[in-house]
């Protein structure tokens, strides 16, 4: 068991505590991206929880903004804010809204939620940092369904044209969007090949292993040159919680305390090394 895998289990546990308290949420897509977030905050990104707006930090734009709960769990574990904030998800006056908000949550770099928009804001961040000769990098997480949006493809052209070699993007290819499988609703085909044809540096990996994700990011940093990099993550919507994985439409679902507790008990075994 590697430290990143344990960190991913800790994040999942904290996510389930958020969802258990609320009783519902964007559970499937928060769980599927968790291993990538573990790699980013556990090994890859430069940041300072005591100074969330440190100007030398790397930026993360989670353009699939509904995965906010996965990031909040991670930020709390890393000390950006107290763990008990997680119990306030979506409650009146909370600083942890359903979708990421840079003005509410310490450590959130961009407001997202209307799909496609985070793609362009990430490109803008990367362009400004590049022209400032900053060493900071920009990481962008998009959903597979999100890639239905035309704005994503505008950004794909733009980022390659502007040679954004400081941008590394991920697609959480869990093969499901709200209404069904991506094959059924809007077939994305070989999405990696599409980005490669836009002159991106592309890798396709198993996105359920944070060590593989970290390795892919290191490889991208070494190989991308002045191209933006894309890492297509083959994932499972609801990953890590079998009861959620088994639900056909698991984009926004309810969760009972029993199901949450059962999943947390299983994760505790991973965390405890049992």
């Amino acid at each position: 068991m590697t430290s990143l895998k344990i960190f991913a289990a800790q994040i999942r546990k904290a996510e389930l505590q958020e969802f258990k308290e609320l009783g519902f949420g964007h559970i499937g897509g928060s769980l599927s991206i968790t291993d990538t977030i573990a790699a980013l905050y556990g090994e890859i990104m430069h940041y300072d929880p005591k100074d969330p707006s440190w100007d030398k930090r790397d930026r993360l734009v989670c353009s699939k903004g509904h995965a906010g709960p996965a990031i909040y769990a991670t930020l709390a574990l890393k000390g950006f804010f107290p763990m008990d904030w997680l119990m306030t998800l979506n409650k009146p006056g909370t600083r942890l809204p359903s979708h990421c908000d840079r003005n509410l949550t310490p450590g959130i770099d961009m407001t997202t939620g209307s799909l496609g928009q985070g793609a362009s804001t990430a490109a803008g961040l990367a362009l400004a940092l590049k022209y400032d000769k900053s060493e900071s990098r920009v990481y962008l997480i998009m959903g597979d369904g999100e890639c239905n949006e035309g704005q994503v493809w505008e950004m794909a052209l733009f980022a390659a044209h502007k040679k954004l070699g400081n941008l590394i993007a991920f697609i959480d290819y869990n093969h499901k969007q709200l209404d069904g499988t991506t094959d059924e609703i809007m077939n994305m085909g070989d999405i990696g090949a599409k980005f490669a044809s836009f002159d991106w540096y592309v890798q396709t990996i198993d996105g359920s292993d944070p060590d593989l994700v970290a390795a892919a990011v290191h490889k991208a940093q070494k190989e991308q040159g002045d191209r933006p990099a894309m890492i297509v993550l083959n994932t499972i919507k609801g990953a890590g919680v079998p009861a959620v994985e088994a639900i056909e439409f698991n984009h926004h679902i309810t969760i009972s305390p029993e199901v949450a507790d059962e999943a947390i008990a299983a994760l505790d075994k991973v965390i405890g090394g049992v």
Binding site: D55, V61, D101, R102, N103, D109, M110, T111, G113, S114, G116, Q117, G118, A119, S120, T121, A122, A123, G124, L125, A126, L127, A128, L129, Y131, D132, G150, Q151, E154, M155, L157, F158, H161
Partner: protein, 323 residues
């Protein structure tokens, strides 16, 4: 401080050239200023700025939605973006991106929509924004500015450099009628009285300020003394100036180069209804789409003329006297 020099003559400089000069000046005055365009630099005389400052004057290609997001991201990295394209593409084409990535996310971006209303002329209905003012008025915290002439354009571009949030500026590209003396200065959110008067107040914005001044000169001949206010900042509206005008003259006519619904007329009516109801009439585009044609023809078609203002003034003064 501003000085009115209106005599009906046009300015010698085209608005697009004044825009290009102001953008170059801004780039030179502040290292954080960037200017973005969506493949319309050549229409805005800014190609030479891009050649001189390729990392500061950035062509985003024909991607208005992406450009608004890029501008938002650059703002989040500390830049002060000015993003230009034609009015319809700077508003309805990318409205959700402007609304969320800039407005809601509290990024600081100036959006410039050129060729407002009938000034889109030969580009026709697809390119003729009558609705941009209404759209940006409903973005919380946004400023909406309708430019009169090149003197105002340059000063407003510079004055809004550090403004927080979304600032929408609509400006013609060709030569405007000269209203202000070179060097005049403007305060965003504050109306300018460009002509004093006692019987009626014409509250105008953009190209309609010169039309209002022309109407006021005609009205003087029939003994009606018209005050003219340049309400170049449609939002936040200078409510104090509107209320003071209603108290002083007791009769209001608005004049705007956009749809009255959601535009300057709506803003003034909301203010008067709440604070100091007074007889009021509206000159502007009356819930119609644009169409192709020479600008003078279009001004007649949409009744953006001194004659229409005079007609409305006569009506409103009559109403006032009946009260």
């Amino acid at each position: 401080m501003y000085k009115v020099i209106y005599n009906g003559d046009k300015e010698k400089i085209a608005m697009k050239d004044a825009f290009a000069a102001a953008i170059e000046k801004l780039i030179e005055m502040d290292p954080q200023v960037v200017y973005l365009d969506a493949d319309l630099m050549n229409s805005m005389s800014t190609t030479k700025v891009r050649k001189k400052y390729p990392e500061r004057a950035i062509d985003c290609g024909i991607q208005e939605a992406n450009m608004m997001g890029v501008a938002a991201g650059m703002s989040a990295a500390g830049k002060k973006p000015y993003a230009h394209t034609f009015g319809p593409f700077a508003s309805r084409r990318c409205f959700d991106q402007a609304f969320l990535s800039i407005g809601y996310a509290k990024n600081n971006v100036r959006i410039i929509g050129s060729d407002p209303g009938v000034t889109a002329a030969y580009n026709g209905g697809t390119h003729m924004p009558f609705e941009d003012v209404a759209l940006y008025r409903v973005v919380p915290g946004a400023a909406v500015i309708d430019i009169v002439d090149s003197v105002q354009l340059e000063d407003v571009l510079i004055k809004t450099k550090d403004r927080q949030g979304l600032t929408y500026i609509r400006t013609p590209r060709k030569n405007s009628v000269a209203v202000y003396e070179a060097g005049s200065e403007f305060e965003v959110g504050k109306a300018n009285e460009v002509k004093d008067g006692t019987d009626v107040t014409i509250i105008a914005a953009g190209i309609m300020v010169a039309v209002a001044l022309e109407a006021a000169a005609e009205l003087a001949k029939e003994g009606i003394s018209a005050q003219v206010l340049d309400m170049f900042t449609i939002k936040p509206l200078d409510e104090a100036a509107v209320i003071a005008a209603a108290k002083k003259t007791g009769a209001i006519v608005t004049a705007e180069n956009c749809n009255i619904i959601g535009g300057l007329g709506s803003a003034v009516a909301e203010c008067l209804a709440k604070n100091h109801p007074a007889p009021m009439r509206f000159v502007g585009v009356n819930d119609r789409f644009g169409q192709v044609g020479e600008e003078g023809y279009l001004r007649k078609v949409y009744e953006l003329t001194p004659e229409k203002i005079i007609e409305m003034v006569r009506e409103v003064v009559k109403l006032k006297l009946q009260k």
